[in-house]
């Protein structure tokens, strides 16, 4: 049984907050998120996509570079700079996609909290605008129209309430 993934917006309308727990100590989670050979194993490796390039210079001011290749010769890349590293509990980095469909770079803060062998990861991504955030929620890995997540969520919420 895998743990529940929550994806929510926050009080800040430029943010997305994602949380997920793992049955492992946070040292291992931290390792899986920062050692290239391990990152390649899980990040974006799905639906015929694989991570071809994963370079990580894990120090403040150091950069990382990810490049994925997918079916039909598609590729996607992203890069960023580490701003804070507190092993094994906190990483702050910038992120920019090669063909960004949202303006500006985003700043991601990952926090790992361990309790009784279970690690809860929370990742907060701060975008430069609400539109950028909404666009990401609407279409994670492809340029697309910026759709309003909140508007839809509101209607869906009323539908759920109705069903209950």
């Amino acid at each position: 049984m895998s743990h529940k993934l929550t994806i929510t917006t926050t009080d800040n309308d430029r943010e997305i907050l994602m949380t997920r727990s793992f049955d492992a100590p946070r040292e291992l989670v931290f390792e899986a998120m920062t050692v290239p050979d391990l990152v390649k194993r899980w990040l974006g490796a799905q639906n015929g996509w694989s991570m071809d390039v994963c370079e990580i210079d894990l120090k403040v001011g150091g950069t990382y570079r990810y490049l994925w290749r997918g079916p039909n010769g598609n590729s996607m890349g992203m890069r960023g700079v580490y701003r804070e590293i507190v092993r094994p509990e906190r990483i702050v980095n910038t992120e920019v996609f090669d063909d960004a469909w949202y303006p500006g770079e985003a700043v991601e803060t990952v926090v790992l909290v361990e309790r009784e062998g279970t690690t809860t990861l929370s990742s907060t991504v701060l975008y430069q605008s609400k539109e950028a955030r909404d666009g990401v929620l609407a279409s994670p890995m492809e340029s697309g129209v910026a759709a309003s997540y909140d508007n839809l969520a509101e209607v869906l919420e009323s539908m759920r309430v109705e069903k209950a």
Binding site: H3, L5, I7, D23, A32, A138, S139, E142, S158
Partner: protein
Amino acid sequence: MELSGYSATQGQLDATFAALADPTRRAILARLTQGEASVMELAEPFAMTQPAISKHLKVLEKAGLISRGRDAQRRPCRIEAAALKEAAGWLENYRRFWEANFQSLDALLEEMKARKQAEPIDEEERPK
């Protein structure tokens, strides 16, 4: 990261999201989740004229979010769940993408735990 198949429905989704961008139209949809209603019934809680409501209904109808009954007098409106579901499914891609990533990470962590247990030597393989 499965990306194909979006563009075919992009136009429809654009219309759906544009229709959802207005608070009155969202309120109308929320009301219609409780059952069908006539224009008059819909206008009531909004302190809006019937023509103003009708205008919103046209946008919703064009976006495929509602349909109107044939009854010439009442023409009751009902919500079209399929269009909403499609829009929701599209947003769900973000979730699915991360669900899949984290399930792979679960498997990887199990492997890492097993490896650590198999190697009792306290050898930290962390990069510096």
